[in-house]
Symmetry: C2
Subunit: 315 residues, 2 copies
């Protein structure tokens, strides 16, 4: 199967042409300062046309377009139900019309973490496994789950994609979602600066003079022995491990795949989470495998073929 | 459809004859001092025979026997995977053989909270709703979920039945399951006495002289103004509400049904949980209904017909 694929990230839009589990060509389009998704559509069209040409294939030869979108999406009717302060005009855009007019192709749109899970399950770290939980650590914490070979979606399309909003510390930090103590409120990109600043000893930490507090800065400072960085890193590892146990108890997976930029420190993260899962998860059948995503930024793009192949009510 | 139904509780075994959503007859069999399930089988057989007779129906007229069991059960192959210190010999018992020999009937066995959910969904508080979470508050906290009209079971038959083992307080109490801060470790029948005793002021509380500390004692003392009881009751309400939000985020239900003996205080519990869900759950589509189970101790028995009607690989 041949497909066009888009991954709408917070700062970039990934564009790809995929044949089955192979990325024939891809390009990244800066979207940081874009005022709307509509304003980007002409450039997206152009980039996809160029990719088709460079890959030596045609739109007519493709089976459809798949889009990974950062928000709550109902693939069954193609509706974007909730955005996260990015591409807010997407709710009212007729993307199906755009796909037909520009490429003569049908379109499916799905939550981006679900797309990444599909990609990793089809061509990456969870290849061939039917029961998978995906946790993407980034600005927020994205989640997705597959049970018995099917994506978990639920009645209102929001099941499993709120994996980062399991309340793991019920008297903890207020979350952007309205809840308290979500994994995301306790250990994600957006919540990290406040947590670091509120850690005792912050003013004497090397992080006090850092231009930006992100996971890369944090893990680097911890490696250099900074006590505040070390304590916060440990806190984040705890939260991610507990989040993994919550999702293991919820979805009964064989494999938990961690993705996101912070997985550059996969060694530290995986060994801690693995140990915690081994001692804390209630899984009499055995121990779920904990691993890092393999496809990096291409995971969601490679989710295109499994998404388009799925037996769904309508395109 | 006509069926025989068993609900194996910690202290009693419920026995019933059901026709569709109607209980034709039922009886309860004391199992508190039973040394094994095998030793109880002759009495169970006898009780079921009497119930059949009293109901004016025959075993030949029945479509099967359904059993709700307190443990992890794989209905697909009829195997009990894990017991909870009760009926431990059940793992090696050939219950199918018993059902055929004694009644000439096929048998299906399922986790008891899942059976209760089936009953409430078929004939009780969640009648006709396709997306339901059930939380049973008792000695432990049982869980079950139905998504898009199907029970959530997962790869190893343990999905959703660990709903009471969502870690909601990751630095909290050690749980019997090996995890830390599970809802069950924070607010269930078995964990309650320790929590009460560790509450500051306990020695001056009316609970210090109580023969037994259970939810009935706790809620009664709180109503009379006992400060320790009030504080612990509030703690339990918090935990149950947070647990509900975790399961709403996991399974995307329309309805959350609370069951168990403590629902005698349904007014206090539901109004608190409802308020918390309204303000804390991330559900753009609307607000999940929170309600009390309607069928009480008969819920699992009334799950028989939906369980036996399910399209499963083998009986």
């Amino acid at each position: 199967m041949l497909a066009l694929s888009l991954d709408m990230g917070g700062t970039h839009i990934g564009c790809g042409v995929v044949r089955d589990n192979e990325l024939l060509g891809s390009a990244s389009l800066d979207s940081e300062r874009a005022r709307s998704l509509e304003s980007l559509l002409p450039r997206i069209t152009e980039v996809l046309r160029t990719l088709l040409k460079d890959s030596g294939v045609t739109a007519e030869g493709c089976d459809g377009i798949a889009i990974g979108f950062p928000g709550i999406v109902d693939v069954r009717n193609g509706r974007i139900l909730s955005t996260l302060k990015k591409y807010e005009d997407a709710i009212d855009l007729d993307l199906k019309q755009w796909a037909i007019e520009q490429f003569g192709l049908g379109l499916r749109i799905e939550n981006d973490a679900r797309m990444a899970l599909l990609g990793e399950q089809y061509a990456g770290a969870a290849q061939g496994v039917q029961d998978v939980v995906m946790i993407t650590l980034g600005t927020g914490i994205g989640g997705a789950a597959m049970m018995l070979g099917k994506l978990v979606r639920g009645a209102h399309a929001q099941a499993a994609c709120l994996g980062g909003h399991m309340p793991v510390n019920y008297r903890g930090q207020k979350c952007a979602c309205g809840n308290v103590g979500c994994a995301e409120a306790e250990a994600s990109g957006w919540s990290l600066p406040r947590i670091v600043r509120e850690t005792p000893g912050f003013d004497k930490s090397s992080l006090a003079s850092a231009a930006q507090i992100d996971f890369q800065t944090l893990f680097a400072a911890a490696r250099k022995g900074d006590a505040v960085a070390g304590a916060v890193q440990q806190h984040c590892l705890n939260i991610w491990a507990v989040n993994a146990v919550a999702l293991i108890h919820a979805y009964d997976p064989e494999v938990v795949v961690f993705g996101g930029g912070v997985m550059q420190s996969a060694d530290v993260i995986l060994s801690f989470v693995e140990g915690h899962v081994r001692t804390h998860a209630w899984t009499r059948w055995g121990i779920p495998r904990v691993c890092a995503a393999m496809l990096g930024g291409n995971a969601a793009l490679l989710g295109a073929v499994p998404l388009l192949s799925e037996n769904l009510p309508t395109l």
